[in-house]
């Protein structure tokens, strides 16, 4: 396996790891987005059943571990690459011009913002569901944890909503560069489809998905009243 070791210690190999985990996380975002729509258009029961399914389905469980692993690998490898790159120019320029997009130059900063957000977000809901005091309701004969009021009540806090919205802005800029960059890094580049990948990255992953995620806390804050927990 010397070849694999050589590959993973090469500058290209390390970027391929960042790219593949990043693109996998993009597919996770799409699935997560679909679930979130339950909060806006669905009912409390539908949302709780969705939560139940997401925590009890075997396939989802495997995918969720893959997702956690991807987040860790993506972050660790990206920071490693970033440190290595910083070492490639020990003395910087006195006068530095710019000729690239802001997001492409600030991927690590944007990534750290998203990582902090993920920790807060997991504490808000995943941690509460697993270890917090969440009531139980019976839906369709199943004992289901009642996460719905936890979500609705969390999004009555303006600073938390603001944090979610700012984080989604960071996600937007991260994906505007990251999505198309990931394809380039794994060598998927051709004038037949690269323009499409770029547009898809900007409009669907950079604009539509972050907007959709940001819309949930905002809509909940404006439209839903807090639910008293007995």
């Amino acid at each position: 396996m010397a070849w694999l070791n050589a590959f993973l210690s090469s500058t290209i190999g390390q970027k391929v790891v960042v790219a593949l985990t990043g693109l996998f996380l993009c597919t996770f975002l799409v699935v997560h987005m679909v679930g979130n729509l339950q909060l806006i258009w669905g009912t409390a029961d539908k949302f709780n059943l969705y939560t139940y399914a997401m925590t009890h389905n075997k396939v989802i469980k495997v995918v969720s571990y893959l997702t956690y692993a991807s987040i860790v690998l993506h972050a660790v490898m990206a920071i490693w690459v970033n440190r290595r790159n910083a070492g490639a120019r020990p003395v910087g320029y006195a006068k530095k011009g710019t000729n690239s997009t802001w997001s492409s130059r600030n991927m690590v900063f944007l990534g750290v913002v998203i990582l902090v957000y993920i920790v807060v977000h997991l504490y808000n809901f995943w941690f509460q569901l697993k270890f917090g005091e969440v009531g139980t309701v019976v839906i369709e004969g199943k004992h289901v944890k009642d996460l719905y009021p936890v979500v609705i009540n969390a999004f009555q806090i303006p600073w938390l909503v603001a944090l979610y919205v700012v984080s989604m802005a960071a996600l937007s800029f991260h994906l505007i560069h990251g999505f198309q960059s990931g394809f380039q890094t794994v060598g998927v580049s051709h004038h037949k489809y690269t323009p499409f990948i770029k547009q898809l990255g900007i409009w669907v992953f950079g604009v539509l998905i972050p907007l959709g995620f940001a819309a949930v806390p905002i809509a909940v804050m404006i439209l839903k009243d807090p639910i008293p927990i007995p």
Binding site: W3, Q184, S189
Partner: protein, 255 residues
């Protein structure tokens, strides 16, 4: 009386006696500069004045002065080769304004150590070429140029990549001091042609290995290199390099 067709300039130039010297900026005032002179001719003028004052002239790289050799470098006002997308020898003083302060720095990269003032050692590029930037050809009678058919699109892409003059502006422009545009240009130029295919997998592996050993950074696809490349080498050569490296790692005996 001031001549309206002549420029006055303030030059902020990086001076460094040798590789071990700490170095620092020196400011020089220069007047009577023709807007039609090239940037290098302007530096010649500065050096003539320095020599006449018995001061050490500024060391800078230059050779053909017609935009084809890739020897001239200089990071001018925050951009490799200055504000125009060309080589420094083809940059003219009309691109600057009268009375402007121009900051002139050497290429900055761990793999391009400073020799003196504005000259850097770019032999890291030579070693990358020696690692795999060639095709093996038997000696003897020259092969008929048209014996192997080459699709026109491939020939054109290969030629575009081959216009790379190895100046190092891509490294200088990249925030990671990455040489991926240079290596990508060489791998594309040779790999797109049938004569280059037999050694393509070996080439991609060897050139990337040498590029990493020299201490260049990795490509984060900012596109700054192509934006500064005097030969306008596109980002697609980096896509091809990534593809060649990935495929040679997974599908060939190399790596």
């Amino acid at each position: 009386m001031d001549n309206p067709y002549r420029m006055k300039l303030n030059l902020k130039v990086w001076r460094q006696h040798g590789p071990q010297d700490k170095g620092g900026f020196q400011t020089y005032a220069l007047d009577d500069v023709s807007p039609d002179s090239s940037f290098l001719e302007m530096l010649d003028l500065l050096n003539e004045q320095l020599v006449s004052k018995r001061e050490e002239p500024v060391a800078f790289d230059h050779d053909c002065r017609e935009g084809i050799c890739g020897m001239c470098s200089l990071y001018i006002n925050g951009h490799p080769h200055g504000p125009e997308q060309t080589t420094t020898c083809q940059l003219h003083m009309r691109s600057f304004s009268d009375g402007e302060t121009i900051t002139i720095e050497p290429w900055r990269a761990k793999a391009f150590p400073i020799i003196k003032d504005l000259t850097v050692d770019r032999s890291a590029f030579e070693r990358i070429i020696q690692a795999g930037g060639y095709i093996s050809v038997n000696t003897g009678q020259a092969v008929d140029g048209n014996a192997i058919p080459v699709p026109k699109d491939d020939a054109e892409d290969a030629f575009n990549a081959a216009t790379c003059i190895g100046c190092g502006a891509c490294v200088a422009a990249c925030k990671n001091a990455s040489a991926m545009l240079f290596v990508g240009a060489k791998v594309s130029h040779l790999g797109l042609l049938p004569q280059g295919r037999p050694e393509a997998a070996k080439r991609a592996q060897a050139m990337v290995r040498q590029m990493d050993a020299e201490g260049f950074g990795s490509c984060t696809n900012t596109g700054a290199c192509s934006a500064e490349c005097p030969k306008e080498i596109p980002q697609s050569v980096i896509g091809m390099l990534n593809r060649e490296y990935l495929l040679s790692t997974t599908l060939s005996e190399e790596g």
